[in-house]
């Protein structure tokens, strides 16, 4: 029975995740990176099953939903000038670098765009967690850091919708680009209008105001899955549907209750998504790609750090704070993997890019959070070197 075997392997995966995660939290490592490694090891024992794949798909959907739910639309509008300026600076420093690297590696346009997105987007999960752990929430550079992350998340969500639209269309040409853009904007517009009118008449509030816990969960799940499904049906990414559903529900009073209800689903399915991603990375590919991964890690870390430093200086932060801002932008994580994973799940396009992303994200997540933590050492070294010159 294939189902029984799948369930046993799922159980083993979860147990392995627990032990690995337990060790990781002991040494304060990012869970994302550890889960991918667990997946890479487990592929030697059993294949990715239909069940794992299904849960992994839900993982992307729930993760993006949570992003939407926790996304602060209010602060996006309140600080829009600052967010826009810092965000554009960060984009200009890092996105073109990915395009250049893609061109250098001889990728086609699609892969080049994906690589640019993967290199560009900093992990807001890892960074936000590190800010709290390292007690940096009051530091002068932190507000700029968070503004950059908001811009990146918004940008990459739109980018994801667009790129998946293009992949489903088949190839890039002027007509296709226009068609996908129109479809994406229409979909976004629909949700924005829905959100605005709901804010006025409170009808979403009224619809989801259900006392019964079980029915509440079922209703919320149906909203998430239907939005994701609709997006997939019209040829966009299901992830973007979930993200917009999250944005829509974030304006309601029940936001807190929704987070509580959906969190366990999200944690479970996201963990499985990372494992499935790890399992899909081919060992043979990995070893030959390690030097390239390290190379990309080093130069993209430089571009992030330099971009952050530039932004910090522009806003009259001290040299120390500007450098800290730059170093804090290095960790990459979930969004890079989602970008690679969304592609990985599409059977039509087997990209070698996936293995490279795996290596790259592992390096960025692990080394990035160490760099962020030990940034004071780097900064000291850097400043001393500068002054001694």
């Amino acid at each position: 029975m294939i189902v029984n075997e799948s369930i046993v392997s799922l159980g083993i995966s979860l147990l392995a995740l627990f032990f690995a995660g337990f060790l990781a939290t002991r040494v304060n490592q990012s869970l994302t990176a550890v889960f991918i490694v667990v997946g890479m090891i487990l592929q030697n024992f059993f294949p990715v099953t239909i069940i794992t794949e299904f849960i992994a798909t839900l993982g992307i959907i729930f993760m993006l939903f949570m992003f939407g739910l926790e996304f602060s639309v209010g602060s996006l509008f309140n600080n829009q000038r600052k967010i826009f300026y810092t965000g554009i600076c960060d984009l200009l420093f890092n996105f073109p670098l990915g395009l250049f690297l893609g061109w250098l590696l001889g990728y086609d346009l699609m892969q080049t765009l994906l690589l640019a997105g993967i290199i560009y987007v900093t992990s807001s999960v890892i960074v936000a967690k590190s800010i709290i752990d390292l007690k940096r929430s009051a530091n002068p550079e932190t507000e700029y850091l968070l503004n950059i992350l908001i811009f990146e998340d918004m940008f990459i969500a739109t980018f994801l919708a667009f790129i998946v639209g293009i992949i489903n269309y088949g190839h890039i040409d002027a007509k296709g680009t226009f068609f996908v853009m129109a479809k994406t904007s229409a979909f976004f517009l629909f949700f924005i209008i829905l959100s605005k009118t709901s804010k006025k008449f409170k009808f979403i509030d009224k619809v989801i105001d259900i006392e019964h816990t079980e029915l509440f969960v079922i209703l919320i799940l149906s909203i998430i899955v239907l939005s994701a499904g609709t997006a997939a049906q019209i040829g966009l990414s299901e992830a973007i549907g979930a993200f917009l559903a999250g944005l829509l529900l974030s304006e309601t009073k029940q936001r807190h209750r929704i987070t509580e209800a959906i969190s366990p689903f999200q944690q479970f399915s996201t963990a499985i998504f990372f494992v499935a991603f790890g399992m899909s990375i081919d060992y043979k590919h990995v070893i030959s790609l390690i030097p390239m991964g390290i190379f990309i890690f080093i130069i993209s870390s430089f571009s992030k750090a330099f971009g952050g430093y530039f932004i910090g200086k522009k806003y009259a932060l001290s040299k120390r704070a500007s450098l800290r801002l730059g170093f804090s932008l290095i960790p990459r994580g979930e969004f890079s993997i989602i970008l690679a994973g969304v592609i990985a799940m599409n059977p039509n396009v087997p990209y070698p890019l996936k293995a490279l992303t795996g290596i790259y994200v592992l390096l960025c997540a692990v080394l990035g959070s160490i760099i962020m933590k030990e940034s004071d050492l780097f900064i000291k070294w850097f400043i001393e070197k500068k002054t001694s010159e």
Binding site: S75, I132, S137, A138, N139, L146, L149
Partner: protein
């Protein structure tokens, strides 16, 4: 009154910055979880010198203490204000004093000078609010209270030479 700067920390919470008179900065971050962090930044330093993490409940308690609803101290300035026109004087009674060996009612202190004798200190014993029949003895210390004018008046009327204001605690 210093200005409080407010700033959103999307995904984390809200930050409030208070520039103190000492040029240090006090920063309070209220996390979305309700947790509060209080940071102190010394002048011109962009890294905090101290961090205190408080739960929602602890923060409210501390807040009540700081705002003075938990315990209201008498602020020094108010005390000064109340005492501005009132003087208390400690007066040692000499053997040859015009006050010595007389009853308080006999001396007619209040009518003559406006001053009130609030306390008589006799060796180890203290007599607060002495009755008007009490006799003031040599070597006593009396504490009088009145307006500045009245006290001056008292001192000249009874030819007091030594007041021991400076010795008081």
């Amino acid at each position: 009154m210093s200005e409080i700067k407010e700033c959103d920390l999307p995904g984390i919470g809200k930050k409030f910055t208070l520039e103190l008179d000492s040029d240090d900065k006090l920063v309070v971050v209220i996390h979305s979880s309700g947790e509060r962090e209080v940071f102190k930044f010394v002048k011109d330093n962009d890294e905090p010198t101290s961090v205190t993490t408080l739960t929602d409940e602890e923060a409210r308690q501390i807040g009540a203490i700081l705002s003075g609803t938990y315990f209201q101290p008498v602020i020094e300035e108010e005390q000064k204000l109340a005492m501005k026109n009132v003087t208390m004087e400690w007066i040692k009674i000499e053997f040859n004093s015009t006050l010595a060996n007389k009853k308080i009612e006999e001396l007619d202190v209040r009518k003559k000078t406006g001053v009130t004798i609030t306390t008589i200190i006799r060796g180890e014993t203290v007599i607060p609010n002495p009755p008007s029949t009490e006799i003031i003895r040599p070597q006593d210390t009396i504490i009088i209270i009145g307006s500045n004018e009245q006290v001056k008046n008292f001192i000249s009327t009874f030819e007091i030479k030594s007041s021991i204001e400076n010795d008081r605690q």
